[in-house]
Symmetry: C2
Subunit: 126 residues, 2 copies
């Protein structure tokens, strides 16, 4: 139940470079365990946390905010409200961004409709 960095990379879909980068940039909850020879060993909790990072990053949260969130979790008891607020703020950003993308997508779909009709008519005419 502990993975090398290469295995963790495979599992999470990130690269080993990115995993090390997240760690040195303070996004991880703690320093990753090491084997006797100094190699990183990722456990289940590490992978869960990386999963959460992926959700946050994948919805556009800046690395700096992920770092802040990680710091709150590291603080432990008492920071729950701050964490909740951070997540709720982010949620609103994501919803706004989704609405905007869907709006833009609607315009693109209309454009696609125009070209589709145009080409269908051209085919009929030929």
């Amino acid at each position: 139940m502990s993975l090398t960095i290469a295995e963790a990379a495979e599992q999470t879909g990130l690269t080993t470079h990115t995993l090390r980068y997240y760690e040195r940039d303070g996004l991880m909850l703690r320093e990753i365990d090491r084997s006797a020879t100094g190699h990183r060993r990722y456990n289940d909790r590490d992978l869960d946390w990386i999963g959460l990072i992926t959700c946050l990053r994948g919805t556009g949260m800046p690395v700096s905010d992920v770092r802040r969130y990680a710091a709150l979790v590291r603080e432990g008891d008492g920071s729950e409200l701050a964490r909740l607020e951070l997540l709720r703020d982010h949620r609103l950003h994501v919803l706004a961004q989704l609405a905007e993308v869907q709006n833009h997508l609607g315009a693109i779909d209309r454009k696609i409709g125009i070209y589709t009709d145009l080409l269908e008519n051209a085919q009929q005419a030929s």
Copy 2:
């Protein structure tokens, strides 16, 4: 019905810097008209086109693909199918990206639920 670059920026929500950048990077359909003194004058068609660029960029299309699309439009008759394919490809990317974001958002919402419950119970206990 022709706007200065500052007015066009205001209308489109872009900056004057970005408008010039789009032009020199080949995203516009043609060179923008100039006043007697060499100042840019944006007309309605320019603004419509910038609106489309905004939709494409706002849904994550890379500048290089917008440039390709603009080149196809400039080519004129005969490029309609290529334009349609480009838009359809992009549409699929957007849909995939939306699905991923919504998926990630679900995980975040569950996390928010956990913290919300936690804090409600804490409040009851106090």
